[in-house]
């Protein structure tokens, strides 16, 4: 008898919508919505493990979780992690963009005069691939916190960051210059679990597809 399927659930920005989709797929998430400090929950024949979205590919690749939900931005940034990407869940829609100060020419000026832009980002690998594929030289500055700060105090000429509504950008007098890729939440599976627990995973995929309106 196999243990219940382990599902990695992302805390943070995707948390509420993930729980809504799981509810729609017939997984009872009431316990996760409470103020419990637990990280692991048993519900509807699944083991739900909550974690940071950026940890989901790590757990799923190793098989510590059989399946998981995380953002496409996370999967792109960790593209060396081998997981099955089974379903676009459609929620958590946002854009990865290149942004710079509103009405300021510094980004273009740096590119023209120095042949090199300095870009602050939390997504160095996505940014690196993007600038390389568009034939431009950049110096990438990796920051962990509020990236919007960087161009305001002169750390960089622009930023590569995830934008949902654009409000944070506007409040910091930044504007979108180029759109790199659109990202949504994805349902992923471990490579071995996908093969050996196919019936359970296919069933859950079908229910999630239904619930996410896909």
């Amino acid at each position: 008898m196999s243990p219940p399927l382990k599902l990695a659930v992302p805390r943070g920005a995707l948390f509420t919508e993930t729980l809504d989709v799981l509810d729609g797929a017939g997984v009872d998430t009431a316990e996760l919505r409470g103020d419990s400090r637990s990280l692991i929950f048993e519900a509807s024949g699944l083991t739900l493990v909550t974690m940071r979205p950026s940890d989901v590919p790590t757990y799923v690749e190793s098989g510590a979780a059989d399946v998981g939900i995380t953002g496409k931005d996370v999967l792109l940034e960790q593209s060396d992690r081998v997981v099955y990407e089974l379903l676009d869940l459609g929620f958590g829609r946002c854009r990865m963009v290149l942004a710079a100060r509103t009405g300021n020419d510094r980004l273009a000026e740096a590119q023209r005069r120095l042949g090199m832009m300095r870009i602050a980002t939390k997504y160095p690998r996505i940014a690196e691939r993007y600038f390389e594929s568009t034939g431009r030289q950049v110096e990438l500055v990796e920051v962990k916190g509020s990236v919007e700060l960087a161009p305001l105090v002169g750390l960089g000429d622009g930023i590569v960051d995830l934008v949902a509504t654009g409000r944070t950008l506007a409040e910091n007098e930044l504007e979108v210059r180029e759109e790199i890729v659109e990202c949504t939440a994805r349902f992923v599976a471990n490579r071995v679990s996908h093969k050996l627990r196919s019936a359970e995973i296919d069933d859950l995929t079908a229910r999630l597809r239904e619930a996410s309106g896909g």
């Binding site: 510590a64 990407e85 089974l86 379903l87 676009d88 071995v192 093969k195 050996l196 196919s198 019936a199």
Partner: protein, 329 residues
């Protein structure tokens, strides 16, 4: 005093060495009993030889010049060196030829991912046997090897490397589009696969049918469901897989095999049947192989060939994992 070793390498101490030696000798015993003679080849080869086998842009991670200025490389697997050995030493021999090995191979690793730079492989190569019988034989040997390694729960995924290329050509895709679709499939990206098929102008219901196809994995029933797809490429692949399934059933083997219409190995040199080995106790693939007739042609031989390699580190991890699961931990 600590003297470090490079990441991804390790020392083996007597306790583990005893277990490893037992595993290696059990595997070699199985291979030899089935007529596969053990060979060894140099860890170092001319880079040109390895590149000839693997194709462009798939270079060894470790290359250097020798004292005469020749470019040498550390092998990254054993199939190419054995193809080289056969071309040099057995060009006029009467096929089929059967070889087995246990050997260290070398590859680049991502930092801090627990990947081994130097890793131990055990496997077989069957060269010059008729296509259908050869594939069946290799799967039988693989099953016997898994039995000998004590992996009761290991499963062999069996797919067809030609299926998707043929199907995409049948759907009328250009070579470049086929490449971009296959890349998605090899990366296990089914969302991207759907988008790539749509972008290549495949009609919506054909996209849906193809996505259903790559999800088919399991017993004989998935082959019947695959037939419903209707395309000639799929029917041919299903016929090939069914033939292998029937041949395995008529012998003692076949109980570990799971058909997989979405199976795709990363290496460019496979054609026809491909296999991958899974164990529920570990999240990584234990090994794999298949048929690679094109590889032998690159070395000037008209032989068909098939084989597999198991990663012994993963086999050990699976053995430990299965024991833990049995103990109920």
């Amino acid at each position: 005093m600590i003297h470090p070793i490079p990441p991804g390498t390790r020392d083996v101490l007597p306790d583990e060495m005893r277990e490893l030696r037992k595993l290696l000798s059990d595997l070699i015993e199985v291979f030899e009993a089935k007529g596969y003679g053990q060979v060894a080849t140099p860890a170092l080869e001319y880079d040109e030889v390895l590149t000839r086998g693997r194709g462009r842009g798939d270079n060894s991670a470790y290359r250097f010049f020798d004292e005469g200025g020749e470019l040498l490389a550390l092998r990254s697997e054993m199939t190419v060196p054995i193809a080289r050995l056969v071309a040099t030493r057995y060009a006029n021999a009467e096929p089929p030829l059967r070889f087995c090995y246990t050997a260290a191979a070398f590859r680049a690793v991502s930092p801090q991912r627990g990947q081994m730079r130097e890793f131990l492989q055990a496997g077989v190569e069957l060269i010059g046997a008729p296509v259908a019988e050869g594939t069946v034989e290799v799967i039988e040997v693989l099953e016997a090897a898994l039995d000998a390694a004590g992996l009761d729960q290991a499963v062999i995924g069996l797919g067809d490397a030609d299926l998707h290329r043929d199907l995409l050509a049948e759907l009328g895709l250009e070579e470049e589009e086929i490449g971009s679709v296959l890349k998605r499939l090899a990366a296990h990206d089914l969302v991207g696969l759907e988008a790539a098929l749509a972008a290549a102008g495949v009609a919506e219901e054909r996209v849906g049918a193809s996505l259903e196809l790559v999800k088919l994995r399991g017993g004989e029933d998935v082959l019947e469901r695959a037939r419903e797809h209707g395309a000639a490429a799929v029917v041919q692949a299903v016929d090939r897989l069914q033939g292998i399934g029937e041949a395995l059933r008529s012998r003692p083997g076949g109980h570990r095999v799971q058909f997989d219409l979405g199976l795709m190995r990363d290496l460019g040199y496979y054609n026809g049947a491909i296999v991958e080995v899974y164990d529920p106790a570990v999240g990584q693939v234990l090994g794999g192989g298949g048929r690679y007739d094109g590889l032998m042609r690159r070395f000037g031989l008209g032989f068909s060939a098939a084989g597999f390699a198991l990663s012994l580190e993963q086999v050990e991890a699976a053995r430990l994992g299965e024991r833990r699961r049995e103990a109920g931990e």
